[in-house]
């Protein structure tokens, strides 16, 4: 029997993998992709509870999360491209123009 | 038995028919373009060139498989597969006909009917873009990379216009399931091409662009980009790309037939005076209509010159998408007024 707790554990594991990706990697594109993993973990949680409670609200919110993720990916990648044109790097340790 | 064996048999029949059909599409294209140019096309291999596709297939299978020196081997091998698989799995939801009785069992002439069938087709088509991007990237060479970026930009641009026209059809039919759309045309008595002519035109032009066919075949134009994204491919992998393009053509024809031309319905299904046409089975109507579309694809290639890339993108974004949006809004308004 697969209860929503199983889906919650899967979602938590995926979330933590995404957080590790954000913290450990230095390539900013990989960091963005780890953020997408985090958003997907949240979506899995929402849809699992929507299935348990037989209410489609969870899926509606998952659609909103996907829309926000699309907007964030577009703008974020635009920023990366603009930065790359100026400084020729995608390593976030080198993106320190505003440091004192 | 009913759960596994019958769908498996249907899948086998459909896949085999598709692959044979795709191989003979090559011959059909060469013949039709030849006749349009007042020559005869392949005539030597077999009577009137009938065995030419078999000769082509044997030749391509026996050719040397070259992988470029510093190409990404896994991605290079996977790209033709990623291009071919979406073209084949779309057949799971296309209805070739209604029910038929075989050996005392009543079987439906479609592999399955999911209630998000049209959305499944669109999402699978959007995954098919990866084959082209990865083919150009994995070749580790300038011309294929440029060509693949151009081709994928073209594909994702025209996907928007095509999806908007599909939404208009969904509004009129009231369902996302392919079988329900045909049944809606049956109960309305009209093929949807008469109800949504602008959507049909946009879908067809978008379908030409989605399959990289002339006049939108700049990304694989031999004169400009030395063969486009499949320059570095040889042998069976090149054959897979080629076959994937023709399989996509057949998919677009089948979807256009189902959505706009009534699928398995006879012409004017509401007019009872024409019911003598009912002796022709539904799947025959489907095949005839799809064949008409395929012929138009080849006819257009033989006739029209190629668009330049910036003209192509301009048409996709500045002409087709606004027209599709206007069509959608007008359809919505009429639908609300009629309710």
């Amino acid at each position: 029997m697969i209860t929503p707790t199983h889906y919650m554990l899967l979602s938590a594991a995926l979330f933590i993998i995404g957080v590790i990706g954000v913290m450990v990697r230095r390539n900013i594109i990989i960091i963005f992709m780890s953020i997408e993993l985090i958003l997907n973990a949240v979506n899995i949680n929402l849809v699992a509870f929507s299935a348990q409670l037989h209410n489609a609200v969870g899926q509606v919110f998952a659609i909103f999360v996907i829309a926000v993720a699309a907007a964030e990916a577009a703008v974020g990648l635009g920023i990366i491209l603009a930065f790359y044109r100026n400084k020729e790097t995608v390593n976030i340790d080198e993106m320190n123009l505003m440091r004192w | 038995m009913d759960l596994f064996v019958i769908p498996l048999l249907k899948i086998l029949i459909v896949l085999n028919a598709t692959l044979v059909g795709v191989t003979y599409m090559v011959l059909l294209e060469r013949k039709v373009i030849a006749w349009a140019q007042s020559r005869l096309g392949p005539m030597r291999v077999g009577p009137y060139g009938i065995l030419q596709p078999i000769a082509d297939a044997v030749k391509l299978m026996l050719k040397e498989d070259i992988t470029p020196a510093r190409a990404d081997r896994w991605v290079f091998t996977a790209a033709p597969i990623i291009a071919m698989v979406p073209a084949l799995i779309v057949y799971a939801v296309i209805p070739f006909g209604d029910k038929a009785t075989l050996f005392g069992r009543e079987i439906t002439l479609y592999i399955t009917d999911i209630n998000v069938g049209l959305l499944y087709i669109v999402s699978v088509a959007s995954v098919g873009v990866y084959g082209i991007i990865l083919a150009g990237y994995a070749s580790n060479s300038k011309y294929p990379l440029l060509a693949s970026l151009r081709a994928s930009a073209q594909l994702i641009s025209y996907e928007v216009a095509v999806t908007l026209t599909l939404v208009s059809v969904i509004l009129v039919a009231g369902s996302l399931s392919m079988v329900q759309i045909v049944r809606a045309q049956e109960s309305a008595g009209w093929w949807f091409v008469f109800v949504q002519p602008l959507a049909f035109a946009i879908f067809f032009i978008g379908g030409l662009a989605e399959t990289n066919r002339a006049p939108f075949d700049m990304p694989e134009a031999e004169q400009e980009l030395t063969g486009g994204f499949h320059t570095e491919y040889s042998g069976m992998r090149f054959a897979l790309f080629f076959l994937a393009e023709y399989a996509n053509m057949i998919v677009v024809s089948s979807v256009a037939t189902t959505l706009f031309l009534g699928g398995w319905l006879r012409p004017f299904p509401g007019v009872s005076a024409l019911s003598f046409l009912d002796i022709i089975p539904g799947w025959t109507w489907f095949l005839v209509k799809s064949f008409v579309f395929l012929y138009i694809f080849i006819w257009v290639r033989a006739t029209l010159p190629r668009y330049r890339y910036d003209q192509l993108m301009r048409i996709g974004w500045k002409v087709l998408i606004p027209l599709a949006i206007v069509n959608l809004v007008v359809t919505g308004i009429i639908k609300v007024m009629l309710l």
Binding site: I2, I16, I30, L37, N40, V47, A70, A71, V75 | V122
Partner: protein, 171 residues
Amino acid sequence: MGEAIAFYTLSFFILVFAVLVVTTKDTVHSVLFLVLDFLFVAALYALLGAPFLAAIQVLVYAGGIVVLYLFVVMLVNLKRPPEAHEDPHRRTRFGYALSVAVLVELGVVAAYSHAIPAPVLAGARSVIPVSGNTEEVGWLLYTSYLIPFEIASMLLLVAMIGAIVLAKREL
């Protein structure tokens, strides 16, 4: 029984591909593993009885967003590896330890709440006059959640304009 097999297989692949996304050195391979991950997540949605959301996941996430990532990765194709410069203030192993601690904590919370049966929420089941998953989601989107829907569409418009402005060479 079949659901359990499907769930464990899908979650195994989801987690394996997620780990591969985070650990692969080659960025293009990382993006490809992300696509596979999203396809398996879409299969999980289909298992959970949300076919509309599964199709949207493939169409928007795997077929749109990740294609965008792939484009940017190919445009930013660097000669020297981007991991060369290391920040001396970075504490990687401490980060790993903290993440594992948070995961264990989440697991304990989940197991604890699993042992206590949840009270039946009386008003949770929705009463919507349409049947079918797509129709239900559509009904909710256009009646109860219309304002968030409109705000989301405005957000997408703003993001589109922002992305075009950011990526232009000269304004």
